[in-house]
Symmetry: C2
Subunit: 303 residues, 2 copies
């Protein structure tokens, strides 16, 4: 019963987001409904929505999936090793938008509901932003929207989830954050089912108000090959994060999930250049000073 | 003393390869000698040679490194957990050539000498080929050259190392080999130091005879945007393998190695396209039938 409520919400949210950032922007949203049945590993169904080579988004994907398995893989139980091997059900929505215009940031959101055995369940997820060129006001707006959505439940969540996000979306081997953060949480059940579900709904409904205005404001900024090169180079970092650190991706690969839906988060094009360092004081060099924990909400207030 | 002999050989081999595939092809080979000192993690030095946006190679890298650390990371000790935490020295040469022409295959070689504590040492490495369009004769030649280099030591090595390679360069999440294999071995010390070093030398010296003729034969084949698109798409698989499965890469990332030299193996450009499946009977579709264990040496003899 709980699961059905969550499912209804996630599917409704998926539709809203696909309409706002897809159809409403003149994009063609391809819908790919799928089923997967593998008695030994993972069974379930899902609906993948994809924009490829669009006008605003070079690649955008919003995936809903609801899968069950007979044995939880290790990537899902790092924090709760006692669950290893239990049967489970995982449903969630996962999205990434890779804009064409390098002045529009890439965005990622994930919302998931996990249940293991009869009694164990939790929510997890988050939203985070990965710009190539930083407009401070945009990032402050993004963080403030995330904060506002959580403050009415409790003022303790934003600082905690923001801190989680700064720690999680971090490339240890580069000593660099993936982007400018956002909010992230996992193993969340402390408000009981109704309260925790309410939190997930607030986070999910803050996505469009947090991101859509940035797209509308920046999608017409003029850009050239210089900005494109830098965007494609930086997308290499996105690939590195997803394949080396991202728990959702690793969970999918380990549990035998549907590969195309899991790797839908990959950028359309990524480049690697040996030992590339942006020229001092160039617009590209400025990005790097933002790839660390910053108090974006206060920064916005001060201005 | 042992280490110095290996080092001299590896550096000589690096020079030979950079000359043959670099200078001799009219490429500009950038030399980047580096030192790294981190008392808590990894210290050492190396020499990275890079071709970027060359005429024949879109990206080529040949890296020599000689590093020591106070504590072996887990990726290096999967087969020998008793070594975990021991001090170690690792030297090796690692190379990848990503050709511009999609009809020329990408190639990878790694040769390494590991020592841990006072008494433990072993060699590891291998050579493998990743084509985008398969010419069966080329692949047979590649495998036969690898086989010949090993047969004089013992006829048992090629079948064993070929099998290792088929198993190792395999993307489980795609149920697909990365390419058409080659040879691969690890934890090798069974011939004593002199014999094992001889084996490494034979493998290293078989690289140019195995690969160079293929480059010379195919680098002038005409190609267009169709072949380029497919090459860039397939390079996405190369990225997936390196970041998800490659032991050398994971060892480097875990041990705090020099990132730019480790990720030198990444392709210059990689693309991901949702649910791309080549058209039936297209030249692109043919690749997939070769991405499984094939007896390439016999195949070549039969023709």
């Amino acid at each position: 019963m709980h699961s059905q409520k969550v499912k209804d919400f996630l599917i409704e949210l998926q539709n809203e987001i696909c309409f706002a950032l897809g159809d409403n922007q003149g994009e063609i949203v391809i819908r790919d409904d799928w089923e997967k049945s593998d008695a030994n590993r993972l069974s379930g169904s899902g609906s993948t929505r994809i924009i490829e080579k669009g006008k605003v988004f070079e690649r955008g994907g919003v995936n809903f999936s609801d899968v069950s398995g007979s044995s939880l893989p290790s990537s899902a139980t790092l924090a709760r090793p006692e669950l290893k091997g239990m049967s489970f059900r995982a449903m969630g929505i996962s999205l990434v938008f890779h804009p064409k215009n390098p002045y529009v940031p890439t965005v990622h959101m994930n919302l998931r509901f996990f249940s293991a055995g009869e009694k164990v369940w939790w929510f997890g997820g988050g939203i985070d932003l990965t710009p190539y060129y930083v407009f401070e006001d945009d990032v402050s707006h993004f963080h403030r929207t995330c904060k506002d959505s959580l403050d009415n439940l409790s003022k303790k969540y934003y600082p905690k989830f923001k801190n989680n996000c700064d720690k999680y979306f971090y490339l240890k081997h580069r000593d660099e954050m993936r982007g400018v953060g956002g909010i992230f949480f996992d193993d969340f059940s402390e408000l009981g089912f109704d309260g925790s579900f309410e939190l997930i709904k607030r986070v999910g409904r803050s996505f469009l108000p947090a991101y859509e205005p940035i797209v509308l404001k920046r999608k017409t900024v003029k850009w050239g090959s210089r900005e494109k090169e830098f965007q494609e180079y930086r997308r290499g970092r996105y690939v590195e994060f997803n394949l080396v650190y991202d728990r959702g991706t690793l969970f999918g690969l380990q549990s035998g999930g549907r590969i195309e839906s899991i790797l839908m988060s990959m950028p359309p094009v990524a480049k690697w250049t040996y030992n590339y360092i942006p020229k001092k004081n160039s617009p590209e060099s400025k990005l790097y000073k933002y790839l660390r924990p910053i108090d974006w909400v206060s920064l916005g207030n001060v201005k």
